[in-house]
Symmetry: C2
Subunit: 202 residues, 2 copies
């Protein structure tokens, strides 16, 4: 059996080292990346054990089964997106810089991946499960609602006209850019679509 | 063993009944729908045997393995999209009716599904496999290139300004509407985003 970071809840508190929440975050991040590469159904528990460095019993103890772990990675993404929107809102960027920053940073993220550009965990992998799994469907819809609402608030604060409409169009183009990145469309073409969308909004 | 439509290539030609190409089309259509519901990795050969009514040996004889059958459903989608674009082009619709027709028909299709609204086979399931499988990635990119190019030709013929740019924005919004449909977003909200996109293009 493999050994790894212990996550069992009945362990005594450790006197030193990383707190448990930090270990959980590391494991969740590694699991999310493996799920992003291969999707939910295409990722085995052995893959997750390898990615996280946790033995399968430790994974079960910390997160429950594979589906619960996957839902936890979607929940982590939801929270991360809230933090990213908070950070951008705090910067109070003028509207052109705001749009350029949102597209450039998102495309940067889409082009990362374990084996190839992997786009967005939610759009690229939760979408697949969403038809047959109501909980994953709800998690995906929750992420989309968050994106539309927080983007509209950013746009309203920056003085962009019809912020709700503009936000839904921009989020929709961003969803597609994630699909396109994963389809192997080169960066210059993604950037061009971003520039065209920005020109249409401003 | 289950029996079903025979697809083995060494059968003698039948004197009457449906020609083999028609049987293949029926099987491909059923397989595509099952793949659309559960994705590539989430669909087993037993699922495909049930969906197509073909025994597993017949499936192997006709299409090769599961991956080859999946690639065949993507190839069928590519050809069907060419036919759909040909049909819309032949109708020579005015630009407002053209855009309304494209959005309405696409949303109609997105809201169909075996167990829930299932969006688009390519965006919702090939995207997942595209990171780790170069052949599926190429098939998905080929579909996206076809969509952008044929949409731009439709827009140019209808006198829509900047047809290439408008086509990429509209296709991007359509990709996202497929994701949103699958996430359980209700029809009136999909229609509203479509109307907003049409207003922005015209």
């Amino acid at each position: 059996m493999r050994t790894g970071i212990k996550l069992s809840t009945d362990l005594p508190p450790r006197a030193r080292g990383r707190p448990r929440s930090f270990d959980t975050e590391i494991a969740l991040k590694a699991a999310a990346e493996r799920f992003r590469t291969h999707g939910f159904a295409g990722t085995s528990l052995d893959d997750l054990a390898e990615a996280t460095g946790l033995a399968r019993p430790s994974l079960y103890a910390a997160f429950g089964d594979k589906r619960a772990l996957y839902l936890a990675t979607l929940s982590r993404l939801h929270q991360r997106l809230e933090g990213l929107f908070d950070g951008i809102a705090a910067a109070r960027l003028p509207r052109d810089v705001l749009l350029e920053t949102i597209f450039a940073r998102t495309i940067d993220g889409y082009l990362t991946g374990e084996v190839a550009p992997s786009g967005c965990l939610a759009v690229a992998t939760a979408t697949t499960e969403a038809a047959a799994d109501p909980d994953i469907r709800d998690a995906l819809r929750g992420i989309i609602i968050l994106q539309d609402e927080r983007m509209a608030r950013l746009f309203a604060a920056a003085g962009i006209a019809s912020p709700q409409t503009a936000a839904r169009i921009v989020m929709s183009v961003l969803h597609s850019l994630g699909v396109r990145a994963r389809a192997g469309v080169p960066r210059d073409e993604l950037d061009q679509i971003a520039a065209e969308c920005i020109a249409m909004i401003l």
